[in-house]
Assembly symmetry: D2
Homo-oligomer: 408 residues x 4
C-alpha cells in the first residue's frame, strides 16, 4: 500500500489495482495536465493537475464504497475507473477537447480504445479486470457507473473542493464528507438518503456560484477560446494529428504552439497574458437560434465574415458560443419521506438556479484590444445580434451585468 | 495599541476608544455569553462567545472604514458601536431575549440606557463620544449605522464565517474580505460596488444554507424553547427582575435556574441534554393566522389548553411560533450599470431564497418523549392545525421534509 | 450510530458503548468544563470544552484501533476510556485540580470511584465492560493504556491540534493523521514505526512552542493562580466540600465564587479581567530548592510572611511555583533500524527541548498592580531569591526574556 | 489597482510599479516555473509556481513596509524587488540553476543584467526607479535589502506557508502575520522586536522540519539530480546555450529534453516517474573532505570511475553532493532586554537545530534499480566512503535513519 499526501484530503491510501495503475505512463501523464487550464490566468494559484484530482476522486470513491459496504471485484472496478476517469483528457484540461473531437469524429469509443491498449490494459488484466467494463464505468454506464460519472458523482465533489482550495474562492467548499456518507443505492439508482434535500442543494449552489466566478470567468474564457483556435491551426499543419494532439501534455502542447508558424502568435500572446478583449458579450435572448445551433464549420465562416466586415485580419476575430444552459445535477435523486424524488421537483432553489444559469449565460466575440469596437459593430450586424447598448467599447446585451472577479 | 489573536481573523489590532472599552465590565461580560446558545447541544464545538464575535465585528468595521477612507471622530463612533453592538444582549445569546423584552415592555431604548451609565459612558466621554450617538449607530440609524446594523452590515459577515468555523458546517464560509472591499456609500446609502450582484447573492445563500442546518436546527430550537420557558418561570419568582436577568451572564443564568424550584427540572434536563421531542412540526400553510398573530399571553393560554386536552402536566407542553419568514438582506443595494438597485429586483436567486425560507419555516410543539403522541393529537385539535399525516409520533405538515443534520 | 460534526475532525462516528456513554450526565457535564480555563483571557477564541476534546480523543483512538486491527471487547474498553478520560476533571479544567487533591488527599483512586457509580457504571455493565478496567486504561495502565495516557497518546494529539484551531496559534498544528497511522505495538510497547523519528520530534516541537505561547502564558498563569487561591478560600466555607467542588461545572464554580464573601473579590476581578500583575518572575536557577520542594502549607505560610513584610493584605500576595521542568514525550519509543529506541537517545532536538523547557521555566509572585514593587522586594528578601535586576517594577531573574504574545 | 485572489494570502492588492511589472514577459514567465520542481513527484499537490510565490513575497513586503511606516520611492524599490526577486530563476525552480551557473561562470551580476534590459527596465524607468538599485535589493544589499533577501526576509515566510499549503505537510505553517508585525529596523539592522525570541525560533523550527520531509526528500533529490544531469547533457548539444537555458520555462525545458537524443532517456524516466534508486546514502562523517570539496569537473570524473568500477553505463551513475550544512537564519537578530542579539546566542533550540541539520545531511549516489548494488559497492571503494552496513541494497552510513514521508 502507498500512502500519498494530498493538500485536500490529507492522506490517501492507494493499494491493489489502483497502486499498480499509478505507475503507468497514462496516469503519470496526468501530472502534466492542468486541472483548470486558462483559469490560472485569472487565479494564479490554480495550478493543480488532473493527477491530484484523479487521486482525490479515487479517494472519495473508495470512501463511498466503504460506507456502502461494496467490496471485491465490483469495488476494484470502481476504484480503477475513478483513477482513470480523466485519462482520456487532452492537454490543458477541457480547453482543446472540442477541437480534437471535431477532427476525430468520435468520442464515445475513445476511452474504450485507450484502456484496451498499453500498460494500463496489462495492469487491468493482471488484476482480473476487463478494460471495457472499466471504460463503461468511466462513461457512467450501469449502477456503479453513477458513482464515477452521474449527477451525484464523486468527480464533482472533488473538483469543487479542490478548485476552491486552489483558487481561494470559498464558494466551492461543500461538505463532501457528508455527501459521501449519505449516498445510497435504491432500486439500482444512486440517491441521497432521507433528510438530504439541503445537502443536495448545497452541491448545486456551490457549482452555481463557482461557475461565473471561476469556470466561466470571461478572461479564462477568452484565453480558452484563443487556445482552441490555436489548436485548430496546429491541426492544419501536416505533422500533428488529432490523435497525437490528444496524447500531448501541457509541455508538448505549448512547445508545439510556439514552434508552429501559424500558432506562434497565439502562443506568444498566451505566454505574455496579452489576451484579446470582449467585442461582444451577449445574453442568451440576444443571440439568434441559428447561431446557437451553428456547426463548427459555420462558426469558422461567420468569423471570417465578421473579420471582413470589420476590416481586420481573419485571426483577429474569435467567436465563443457555449452550449445552451443546463444543470445536470437537477435530476439528482433524494429520498423524501421514503420515496425517491428528483431534486428539481423538491427544491425551489434548484428551479431558481436553472433560471440563474440562463441569466448568466454569455456569448462572446473577442478581438485584439484596438479592434474591439470595429469587430463589435461588425459582429452585431453580421450575426444579427439584438444588442441594447454599448458599454465603453464592449457591445453587450440588455442586462449588462458584468460581474467579474480578481484579475481581468 | 493591543493586538489580539483571533481564530477567524488572525491578528486584530485594537486601539483608541475601542481599547479603552475592552476593559469595561460591560464588554468583558460578553466573554461569558455564548454566541449560539443551545446550538452547542447540536454542534459541540460551537462554544464561541459574543466577546470574540464583537472583536470580529469591530475588526471588519475597521477594515471597511479604512477602505472607505473614513477617519476621525466619525470612524471612532463606528468602532465603538461595532464593539458594543451586542452589549445589550441577555445571557445565552438571543435565547431569552424575548422573555426579557416582554416583561420590561421596552426594547428600543435599552441600548441608549445601557450606554449612558457606568464605565462605558465614562470611556466614551473621555474620548469625546456621545453615548446616544453610539446607541443610534447600534440600532442602525443614520448613514454609518448601516455598517453596524443593516442589510450589508459587518455583523452578519463576522457571524457567518465564525459560526462556520466553530460548528464545522462550511456553508457560512463567505468571501468576507471581498465584501468589505466592495462596500461604498452612494447618496447616503451603503451599497456594493458595480460587479457584485453575485457577491451579494453569496451572502444570502450562505445564510439560507446555515439557517436550517445550524440556527434553526430542530434540537437547538427545542432546547431554546425550553430555556425560554424556564426563564419565564424564573421571572415569576420574587427575587429575579427582568432588568436583573438581562444583566446575567451564562454562569449566573444556569446557577439561578438550578437554584429555583420551579426551573430546576428544566435546568436538569438541559444539563443532561434530556430534551423534549417534537409533537408537532408544521409548515406555514398548516398554521392558522390567529396562532401566528397570537400574543405571549395567548400562547401561554393555548399551551395550558393543549396540556389539559392531552391530560399532561402544564409544564410538559411548549409551543414554538417563529416570526413569519423574511430575508432582510434581499433589500441590499448593489450598483448595476451605474444605478443603485435592490438585490431582490436583480437576482432570480434572491426571489427563490424567499420561497425557500417560506418552505423551511416550521411551527413546533414540544413535549417529553412519552407524551408526544398525546400532545400532538391535542395540539392539532386545539390549535386548528391542518396536518396531513403522522410520521412515527410527530404530527407534521404536508411536505414533511425532516432534513436534519448532526446530533438529534 | 450517531454522527457528530466537529470543527477539528469533521465527522465523528459514535456507536456502541461510546454512544450510550454520551448520554450520561457525567459525559454531558464536560460540555460545561472549558478546555483551557483561564487561557481564554489571553486568547478570546479559546472557549472549547472538555466535551469536544473527549470526542476528539475518542475519534483518534478509534482510528488508531482500526489501523492496528484491534477489535472486540479490547477495542470497546479503549473507546470507553478515551471518551471518559477527562470525566474526573474538576471545573475550569486543570485550574483547580491541585486544590481538590490537596484537600481530598487522594488522587489515584478517584477515577476508579467515579466510574464505579451512577449511570456510567450501568452503561459499562450493559456492554459487558468492567469499570475498574476502564479506569486502569484512563490511568495509562497496561499495554492499551499507553494509547489513552502515555508518551504517544491520542490525548495530546487531539489537544495540540484543537488548541491551535481555537487559539489561532499555528504551532500546535501537527500531522496527527500520520501519527495515528504510524503507531504500532512491539513487545507490548506502543512505538512509532520505522522512519518516524521526525514525526515524533514534531509532536514535541509543537508542545515546546505551544507551552510558552499558550499554556504557560503569564497572564493565563496569573488568573489561574488567583482562581486556585479563590477555590481554596471556598473550601474554608462550611458548605462546599472538596468532593462537591470536584463535581462542579464552570457555571457552578463561578456562581459559588460570587456568592461566597471570601471569594467575591477574586470572582469580580476575574469577571472584569482586572488581574494581579507579576511582582517576581524568576528562573529556575534563581529559586532556592527549599521553595521548589515546599508543601502547600509552607507556601501559604510564605505568602503570609511576604504580605507582612510588604505591609499588604494577606490576599494580595499569590505565589505560583510550577513543578520542575520535564518532557514526558522524550521517552517516546520509535523503531530505528529494527530496534526500539527512546526518542531522547535518537534525537538531538529532544535534548535541546529539555534545555529549552528548563530555560523557560518561571516562578511567579503576583500582587495587585499598585503593590507589585513592595511585594517584589519583600518576596526577594523573604524567599531568598537570587534576582539580578529590576525591570520596571517586576523583579526578574538573570536572563529576563519576557517573551509574550497576544493580550497581556 | 489590481486585486488578485491568492490561495494563501486571500486578496493581494497590486498597484503602481508592481502593477506595471506584472504585465511584463519576465514576470508572466514565472507562471510557468514551478516553485518546488521535482518535489511534486513526491507531493502531487505541490504544483504551485514562482509567480504566485512572487506575488506573496510582494504582499508580505508591502505589509511590512506599511507596519514600518516606510513610504515613497524607498518603498517602491522594495516592492519592485520583492516581485522580481525570482525573475532570474531558470526553469524547474532551483533544480538546474547550478548547471547554468557552472557554464556561464557568473552569478552575481546576472540579476543586474536581467533587469537592465527589456520591458522591465522600461517599466522601472517609467516609475523613476533604477534597475541597478532594484537588483541590489534582490541580492540583499543595503538596509532594505535585508527585507528581500536576508535571515528574516519575507521570501522564506511566504515559501514556508505556501509550501505547507500545497504539499499538505503542516510543519511550515508559521505565524507569518506576527513575524511581519514584529520586524523593526534598529541601527540599520533588520531585527525582531523585544519579546520575539520564540517567534524567531518558530521560523527555524518550521524550516528544520520541512527540510527532510519536503525540500530534501530523497525521491525529490534523486529526480533533481537526474534533471540536473540531463540539463548538462543538453548543454553539450550545439543549439542550447546556458544563457538560453536560463530563459526557458518548464514547458520549453521538457520539450528540449525530449527532443535531444542524449537526454530523451532522462526525460522519459522523469515523465514516467521511473527514477533511479539510492545506491549510497551516507552521512557527513562518512564522506571524505576531498569529495565534499570536489569541483564539478572532478565529480564528473568520479562518476565515470564509479561507473567503470561497477561495470555499468556512464549515464547510470549520478553523484549528489549537497553543500555543507548551514542555517543562515541562526544569525537572525532579535531585541532582548533592549539589546540586539544574534538568535544563535540566545536560543538553545537554534544550536540544536544546527546539530540536527548536520545529522540529517546525506550524500547520495543514484543508479537504476538493477544496478544499485554494484554501483554501491563500487562507489564505496572508489570514493573512499566509510560506510557501516548494507541495508537491503542501499549502502548507508552509520546512523542509517531513513526517515521518509509520502510517496517513495
Amino acid at each position: 500500500m502507498t500512502t500519498i499526501k494530498d493538500s485536500v484530503h490529507d492522506h490517501i491510501e492507494v493499494s491493489g489495482v489502483a497502486e499498480a495503475l499509478l505507475d503507468t505512463p497514462m496516469v503519470q501523464r496526468l501530472r502534466r495536465i492542468s486541472q483548470l487550464g486558462t483559469v490560472a490566468l485569472v487565479y494564479p494559484s490554480a495550478n493543480h493537475t488532473r493527477f491530484e484530482h484523479s487521486l482525490g476522486v479515487y479517494h472519495l470513491a473508495n470512501e463511498t464504497l466503504s460506507h456502502l459496504g461494496i467490496e471485491g471485484v465490483k469495488a476494484d472496478r470502481v476504484r480503477a475507473a475513478a483513477l482513470l476517469h480523466d485519462a482520456g483528457h487532452g492537454p490543458y484540461s477541457h480547453n482543446v477537447e472540442d477541437v480534437i473531437h471535431r477532427h476525430t469524429g468520435k468520442y464515445h469509443d475513445e476511452v474504450h480504445d485507450l484502456l484496451r491498449a498499453g500498460e494500463v490494459a496489462e495492469v487491468l488484466d493482471d488484476h482480473g479486470l476487463d478494460p471495457g467494463e472499466i471504460a463503461d464505468l468511466v462513461r457512467g454506464d450501469g449502477e456503479l457507473g453513477q458513482l464515477v460519472s452521474g449527477e451525484l458523482d464523486v468527480d464533482r465533489m472533488d473538483y469543487l473542493v479542490r478548485d476552491a482550495h486552489h483558487t481561494g474562492v470559498p464558494y466551492g467548499t461543500i461538505d463532501h464528507e457528508r455527501l459521501v456518507r449519505e449516498l445510497r443505492f435504491v432500486d439500482g439508482e444512486l440517491v441521497l438518503a432521507e433528510g438530504n434535500v439541503q445537502t443536495a442543494e448545497s452541491l448545486l449552489v456551490a457549482r452555481a456560484l463557482m461557475t461565473p466566478a471561476v469556470y466561466g470567468h470571461h478572461t479564462a474564457r477568452i484565453a480558452k477560446a484563443m487556445l482552441r483556435r490555436a489548436a485548430e491551426r496546429l491541426l492544419d499543419a501536416p505533422d500533428v494529428s488529432p490523435e497525437g494532439l490528444r496524447r500531448f501534455d501541457d509541455h508538448s502542447l505549448f512547445a508545439a504552439l510556439r514552434d508552429c508558424e501559424a500558432t506562434a502568435g497565439y502562443a506568444d500572446r498566451l505566454d505574455r497574458r496579452d489576451l484579446y478583449k470582449r467585442a461582444v458579450w451577449a445574453e442568451l435572448d440576444s443571440v439568434p437560434d441559428a447561431l446557437l445551433d451553428a456547426g463548427d464549420g459555420e462558426i469558422v465562416d461567420l468569423e471570417r465574415e465578421v473579420a471582413e466586415a470589420a476590416g481586420v485580419d481573419r485571426e483577429h476575430v474569435v467567436l465563443d458560443v457555449p452550449g445552451r444552459p443546463s444543470i445536470p445535477e437537477s435530476t439528482s435523486r433524494v429520498v423524501v419521506n421514503g420515496n425517491i424524488r428528483r431534486l428539481e421537483s423538491q427544491s425551489t432553489l434548484v428551479q431558481a438556479l436553472m433560471r440563474v444559469q440562463h441569466d448568466q449565460w454569455r456569448f462572446g466575440v473577442y478581438a485584439p484590444d484596438r479592434h474591439t469596437e470595429a469587430v463589435g459593430h461588425a459582429a452585431e450586424r453580421v450575426l444579427g445580434l439584438d444588442l441594447d447598448a454599448l458599454v465603453s467599447e464592449v457591445r453587450v446585451g440588455r442586462h449588462r451585468t458584468l460581474d467579474e472577479f480578481s484579475e481581468n
